[in-house]
């Protein structure tokens, strides 16, 4: 699980973690990835909209389970839906995740707000 690794070097593995702004919004994506010799071996790109005074995880592109996929999350961080992506290299999947999130964040934001507890 890439999210549990400390940023930095571990042998030949290198873990990096940073945030980027998403789309037109003041939301962010938390990007974490692990490389070995320029090859991505694990990644997460977690979309965190700014809602009610906090950044809240709403969707996560992830390489766990051996295949790139997207997790849609509820307000407690539990997975409510998992969408599997066609197999590709993780380098390509990570770049695709950034591009897909820049395109689709309004959909995931809207869906997340609909799941808000009453």
């Amino acid at each position: 699980m890439v999210g549990r690794r400390q940023a930095g070097w571990s042998g030949r593995e290198r873990t990096r973690e940073y945030d980027k702004r998403v789309g037109l919004s003041d939301d962010v994506a938390r990007v974490r990835f692990v490389t070995v010799d320029r090859k991505v071996i694990a990644y997460t790109v977690q979309y965190e909209p700014w809602v009610a005074g906090a950044y809240r995880p709403a969707a996560r592109y992830d390489s766990a389970h051996g295949q790139p996929h997207l997790d849609l999350l509820d307000w407690d961080g539990k997975v409510v839906e998992k969408r599997w992506l066609a197999s590709t290299s993780l380098n390509e999947a990570l770049e695709d995740a950034l591009a897909a999130l820049d395109r689709d964040w309004p959909i995931w934001r809207e869906a997340f707000l609909r799941r808000r507890p009453r």
């Binding site: 940023a7 930095g8 990096r16 973690e17 940073y18 945030d19 980027k20 702004r21 789309g23 037109l24 919004s25 003041d26 939301d27 962010v28 990007v31 990835f33 490389t35 320029r38 991505v40 909209p49 700014w50 809602v51 389970h65 790139p68 997207l70 539990k78 997975v79 409510v80 839906e81 998992k82 969408r83 599997w84 992506l85 066609a86 380098n91 999947a93 990570l94 770049e95 695709d96 995740a97 950034l98 591009a99 897909a100 820049d102 395109r103 309004p106 934001r109 809207e110 707000l113």
Partner: protein
Amino acid sequence: MTTTTVAPSTIDDAHAAKNGELHRRYLRAMIDDPDGSYDVPNGALLVLLPDDGDEAFAASEVEIGLLHLRRGRNVYFRHVSLADLPEVPSVDPPRFVRRTRYNPDGSVAAEETAGPDGTWVPAERSEEEGR
């Protein structure tokens, strides 16, 4: 749609697309980086300021960075020379091939595969895929 947008009125779809492409190029530079020259402080929000003379873009990005800084986020402003960043091709949308929906108790509610017309149709669930 309930979307909170940032104040700068100069931000539009073209601005967002430019920022997205910049970040994909920077990501590739980070992956290819042998000596750490593209490193970002751990966990910081990365704000990229390209050397293309687009002052409006830079001003908006700085304003947005300061917004996140005031919220308590560490922000890393990074000047980048576009000539030094690798090019990235425009990417096709990732294609979802299957989806699993869950009940509130964690059990599987539905397992579906993507049909050729984009609709979801029921499918058998693989045993090896956990939640």
